[in-house]
């Protein structure tokens, strides 16, 4: 673990990341000494910092720290957090002399092999995501909605929960982005009111553009999901899981999903 470039696992209790969740983060998958899609993650980090008016650490600095960590820990789930740092007392971001950035590495989670091979069971969460256009898409540290949603199920057989917003649009998984394949089109929920726009979501959209597959980013209702020919969720750690069971419907054929998986997990991608 590194805190502001130095080995350590502690931060100040006055850091605004703790006090207000005033920061952003990324989660990367490292294998064989390489962090997958680091520059895509950095670009997201920069975007999210900018949206919150937080000064993003320089890409050269973070890349150097990342490489030092990878030399010691070639495999793992790497978390990078950037907070607004310490300031004067109160919500207003005043008196901040510098951001805090830190790296943490955990073992890659071990999911049942079946989930990647045959797909997962998903369920609909009771919690509804709130609309906040100023924060939508950003991977910020205010994640209580995800915590409450993830706490809903203690069934180890349910790999992911899908979240609706207050308007009954399906938005995303608790820790993943959702795609539908429907009549030869890819569909993914619009994230302009809530949700987190992940790097893997962008990569699926890039695949669609490169392969001439029509892609819609739009409101997605439960009916759209139930009518879909294929369903899958993506994030940087799991890569991609097809959904084989959701809301009492089962899916067993995933031809388009398989092609996209090849791209997502390909060495050239």
């Amino acid at each position: 673990m590194l805190v502001n470039g130095k080995p350590g696992n502690l931060i100040s209790i006055r850091d605004r990341g703790l006090l207000y969740g005033d920061g952003v983060f990324r989660t990367l998958r490292a294998t064989q000494g390489k962090a997958q899609h680091w520059l895509l993650h950095y670009n997201k980090l920069l975007h999210d910092c900018t949206a919150l008016d937080i000064v993003c650490p320089d890409v050269g600095l973070l890349t150097a720290e990342l490489n030092n960590l990878l030399a010691l820990h070639p495999t793992g789930a790497m978390k990078l957090i950037v907070t607004r740092g310490e300031g004067t007392r109160g919500y207003a971001p005043l008196g901040c002399v510098g951001t805090t950035h830190l790296w943490d590495i955990s073992p890659l989670p071990e999911y049942p092999a079946d989930w990647a091979l045959r797909g997962i069971k998903a369920q609909l969460c009771r919690l509804r995501l709130s609309h906040q256009p100023r924060l939508a898409g950003i991977k910020h540290l205010n994640r209580l909605e995800n915590v409450l949603a993830a706490a809903e199920s203690s069934d180890a057989d349910i790999a992911e929960g899908l979240l609706m917003d207050a308007d009954s649009n399906i938005i995303e998984g608790t820790r993943s982005n959702l795609f539908l394949v429907s009549r030869g089109q890819l569909i993914t929920p619009d994230l302009s009111h809530c949700g987190v726009a992940g790097v893997q979501r962008d990569r699926v959209m890039t695949w669609a553009a490169q392969h001439g597959m029509p892609l819609q980013v739009r409101d997605v209702g439960l009916d759209d999901v139930m009518d879909a020919d294929e369903l899958f969720v993506v994030n940087s750690i799991i890569s991609m899981w097809s959904i084989r069971e959701f809301n009492q419907r089962c899916w067993s054929e995933f031809p388009i999903t398989a092609k996209i998986r090849q791209y997502l997990d390909g060495s050239d991608a």
Copy 2:
């Protein structure tokens, strides 16, 4: 500063308070070696912890820590944070072996004397609060909306910003609760969709009950605010500020507000 009862100012970067804002807090005013309304704050803390399924530290333990701190620091703004602590990787609150609780003390902020005596200028924030009934009322650590709202104004003359929700109801101040006096009634916004229900808000409601003043907790529109005979905001640090200017209207007479102030700041209350 105390972290889990021991002198210190650092917490783990794996604490869920930092990772997800998975915790709650209180801010108390200490003067002359006494923390004002500690038991009211404790009851709120307990309520908020319970709402998030976080085990709240025992009142005896926290009271003992508070008294030790007050012996060293008889005056200040005291912040108490309780987080879900450290768990296994991921949003689901699993593997948490114990909560984290910490105290921090800052000097009481020095506001212009005029603000308490004659009232403040307030403005309407552009940011709209999002609706999340599962989190409404709770003083949790997901406070980016407050940060963004507080960042809107750099005018030192504006003491507070008032926040609307997406439905154009006025909800609260960026760090305070709002009351209206209108035709002999007290009115305060309903907080069942968003907002933080503070201890001072409860105390004003207690005053109303004790003094036979009709009180409405309901949706409050901008028209209600502009029509009000008196307006004031409260929190535990500032106690109470009348609003003397908001949205191009001025107020100068605060007879009911003055009575409530007497109660809020009275030694017997």
